[in-house]
Symmetry: C2
Subunit: 613 residues, 2 copies
């Protein structure tokens, strides 16, 4: 029944051979991996504008230069990752690259940083999407946490169904978004060329309330850097691409970077050239769209596509996070279940884990994306820096043809992302970046602890040290606790007799009286070859006298073996009927759980169930 509900929601299980079929072509891959990166245009623009507008016209005239710096950064990072994809065609996330080239700890830092970033991306995208929807319909605001959680469940289910399905549905918002923005930017460029700038920026901008300081510029730049988060999803997700995997992945990365640069430069350039100023309570992109198209249907379509792309941006995390956890699990830094492919050929445990952590963040931060944003970007830029530094070492070690150029590109990437990381870390430290600087080492500690556990287990399970030829154990002695002579014990007794010649039935007598002799007579009539022992229980407990008796017989037979317990268990036809029975078998099993043998083995209990109708 539960399975039916599950199949209805996520589809029926798929065999291994369909793994190939489940892989993504470039169109679907772009839809799966790019929404985070592309949708960040929606808030990065806004953050830069808000950071600069306080310095008036001189501030706003820096919009395009800062955007240029970020696009340069984007180009370097994208180029860097293109090299990584080539160098690590089986999936080269920051974790893999940093670990292989820099060592375990840097690798784990990169891995932990990425995981944090994926969780934050999911939480921020969902809450920002819901916030955007509820700016249009303010009545929804009190339900924002529920709405975000509802969207989260929806995205989780789609991802549990599998990549292809989620790729198809997720394609619609992202391509609508790209189309709308491309139309807007080309129309804006046409207007700019035909009509020219409406007026100098200084005549339109509000008066400065703060001088243009270095810190102000750094802050605006840091805020804009959030645009780059999510860019590395593709290099983690190479195995999801159709073959040739690395080529398709690299092409998709290139297309994504170009689209990002185009959307970012186009929108911010138009904003500055046209001197667009946002009204109170309006986003700068909304102001740009309104300037170009007025408040007609095209404006609303653009707004809607923005909301939709934000809502699906969380999906990038669902494409990336489970892959990182699977790689970490394969290396025994995370629970091994995260490496199991589920029924639908996806890392379902990773999806569920991400979903749970995202839900926790949404609830903890009460559905407020503004409180979450400062935590952002620290993780991504830590991962960028470590991964690109790792690539430098990679090329240096290989020393293949043209390695110096490649090492220089990655070295430049490492340098600029490190500088950006410092700028972000310093300018946003007290706003929330400090949380990230605590959480990432926490993750690393956890990874190491888990690995340590698996190593300890593997040592305990190792066959080394065992004698080369293992002898079977001697024939077991068997003890069967019985509550009387009835059909419920027949199978248990017969089974015991089939595996051993030393079988003893034990009757725990909680109410001494003349009935025992009658019971013994009946027992001997039915099972003459099975010894029948009555153990008195003056305190009316079933469990303790039985345990005492077991220890006693073990001490009599000093063969070093414990007697085996065969438990005849009556199973009622329905759980409600369980309250009508004593469940002594359950009590005995629980009590024995706490009795361990020194060598790691425990008394063997054989449950012989007898089902009632």
């Amino acid at each position: 029944m539960l399975n039916k509900i599950k199949y209805m929601l996520v589809g029926s299980p798929l065999p291994n051979r369909m793994l190939e079929d489940k892989q993504l072509n470039k169109i679907r891959a772009l839809a799966a991996f790019s929404p985070d990166a592309l949708s960040s245009v929606a808030y990065a623009n806004q953050e830069i504008y808000l950071g600069l507008v306080v310095a008036g016209a001189s501030g706003l005239s820096l919009q395009l230069p800062i955007a240029g710096a970020i696009i340069l950064l984007l180009a370097i990072v994208a180029l860097s990752y293109a090299q990584t994809i080539r160098g690590y065609p089986s999936g080269g996330g920051s974790y893999v690259v940093a670990r292989e080239n820099l060592g375990t700890i840097p690798g784990l830092i990169a891995g932990g940083a990425l995981l944090l970033d994926y969780i934050l991306t999911a939480a921020v995208s969902l809450t920002a999407g819901v916030a955007a929807i509820s700016s249009a319909f303010p009545g929804l605001w009190p339900y924002r946490v529920w709405l975000a959680l509802f969207l989260l469940v929806l995205i989780t289910l789609l991802n549990l169904r599998g990549l292809k399905e989620s790729g198809t549905i997720m394609s619609i918002p992202i391509y609508l978004f790209i189309l709308c923005y491309a139309v807007m930017i080309f129309y804006g460029l046409y207007r700019a060329v035909v009509q020219g700038a409406p007026a100098p920026l200084s005549s339109l901008a509000p008066a400065a309330v703060e001088p243009l300081s270095l810190l102000l510029i750094m802050h605006a730049f840091s805020a804009g850097c959030t645009a780059l988060t999510g860019i590395e999803a593709i290099s983690n997700g190479i195995p999801s691409f159709k073959t040739p995997q690395w080529k398709n992945a690299r092409t998709t990365l290139g297309i994504m970077a170009l689209l990002m640069g185009f959307l970012f430069a186009g929108s911010i350039g138009l904003t500055q050239y046209l001197g667009v100023i946002a009204a109170q309570q309006e986003t700068i992109l909304s102001a740009l769209a309104r300037t170009l198209f007025g408040s007609g249907p095209i404006y609303y379509l653009i707004q809607f596509s923005t909301l939709a792309v934000l809502a699906v941006a969380a999906n990038t995390s669902f494409a990336g996070f489970p892959r990182v956890t699977a790689i970490l699990a394969k290396d025994k830094f995370m629970p091994r279940q995260l490496f199991n492919l589920g029924d639908r050929l996806v890392f379902q445990n990773g999806i569920i884990l991400l979903s749970g952590l995202t839900a926790a963040l949404i609830i903890l931060f009460n559905g407020d994306s503004h409180a979450l944003i400062p935590l952002f970007a620290v993780g991504a830029f830590s991962a960028f820096t470590l991964s690109q530094a790792g690539m430098v070492i990679h090329w240096y070690r290989l020393k293949e043809k043209g390695w110096l150029i490649k090492a220089l590109i990655n070295g430049l990437g490492a340098l600029v992302t490190f500088v950006a990381l410092m700028v972000i870390g310093i300018s946003k430290f007290f706003e929330g970046a400090w949380i990230s600087t605590l959480v990432i080492p926490g993750f690393v500690f956890l990874f190491l602890k888990i690995r340590q556990h698996y190593q300890a287990v593997s040592k305990q399970l190792s066959m080394s040290g065992l004698p080369p030829s293992l002898r079977p154990l001697p024939k077991p002695r068997i003890i069967i606790p019985v509550s009387g002579v009835h059909r419920g014990v027949v199978e248990a007794v017969n089974f015991s007799r089939s595996i051993s010649d030393s079988v003893t039935a034990v009757f725990i007598d909680i109410d001494p009286g003349p009935d025992e002799e009658e019971l013994r007579r009946r027992w001997n009539a039915w099972f003459p070859d099975v010894k029948f022992v009555v153990v008195p229980s003056p305190y009316r407990s079933i469990v303790e006298p039985l345990l005492t008796y077991l220890d006693y017989t073990d001490s009599l037979n000093n063969d070093g073996q414990q007697a085996i317990l065969v438990l005849p268990e009556l199973i009622p036809a329905s759980p409600t009927q369980e309250i009508l029975h004593n469940q002594s078998a359950d009590q005995i099993k629980k009590a024995l759980l706490f009795q361990r043998r020194v060598n790691g083995f425990q008394r063997i209990i054989i449950d012989v169930p007898y089902h009632l109708q």
Copy 2:
């Protein structure tokens, strides 16, 4: 650890031989069984007064006559039960007497009616006690449900400790109550004799607002009848008395009835003779005490003793209810656990059940005793009538010396309690008595269903029909699912080899590759006499391919036996480490729970745990 907390709260377990010591002398027995009956003076008086005062002086002049009728009823019922105690010295509650003499259904009606009455007694006493306390301290009123539940937990724990302890502590309020009221009544009588009546009642009573009708008198009488609930607790509790049990029980019943009659007649007689009229928001007993002693310390002591006795009146239910459920459980009409004597030689499950049901009533009725009172008394009087009608048949059957007198006394008892039942049922039907007329048949239905289940089980467990000499099963075939060659499987394999020559290890292969051959080589090196089978799992499930394989091998070996599953199970050192392991063993066990064999037996699973450190 849990056991330590338990021992601290209820004391350490007691052996069977202390059963004799745990039994009650008459002083403690009176304290255990009488608070319900005696404390009812506190509200029965009040209900009669309120019922009659609306008819003015002519109404109030009927107080003593109605009290007289109720005392007559009390005398008949007490006499009747004294005969029952003699006739059923091993515990003759209404259920036993009605069932033996009238048949199963009347017996169950009596049993169900009594159980309902005990639950209501506990709930009404506790809420009435709390209501009384919070009339003195109105700030407590919002917390009445919590207070009532707190008292309930306290009483439950005392009763779980055992009768003697609860007898000792419960003795204090009841004897204080008896002492205070005896002093008050004797002092009142002295005043009445010395000073005479202060003035004719007609000059003191408020004007009539209603004519004195038959219904009004019936209603006042019904309300007063609540005084009789709880009187039968002693006849159920004979086994708790010291030997000679029936004599001690009968003496205690006599003393209780005399005390009740004295308190009831004395207080109501003084009220009428002295023309006491209660002020608004005051009980008639409070008015009587104030008239006699003024508002000094003696008045407050009397009030406090009233509250205390109400609070412990619930204890009567705890003495009676578990005994009735134990008798019903012995006859298989209730779950058999209710017949098990607990660690402290009390029917702990009955105590816990009563506690739970009482808590449910308190919460459901929001701690309001007035809403509960109309449900009351229907149960008690149904039980009285059935039990006494049963006694008539009992004497008629025995026909021992003087049986006719005995039969006449019980017949009279049956008749008057039946008339009282009709009066109560009719006059209170719409106020709540209808609930009782639904619940009692509900109980009877449940009793019959439970009995039916036990009979079905007993039939299924019967050895009749089995061949007289049972043959042991053939040697079992054994299948061991293994995840590799490691120490965790060693004990499982060795154990299997010690009980069977046909052992097969099965490896479920979820990720086909070249590793299988290496695994097979290692397996054969360590366990050359154990067959090693690789079962592919294209859907990556461990459970389903294993089940399929089991069915397949069973079909190959048509010996009519199922292969036995030996499960090597890794047990992590702590529950938090469980999330780091796959728990395949748990999954297999769960899946096989749903696979049943037609004849009631199930595939045998042998768990061989290996504990990790």
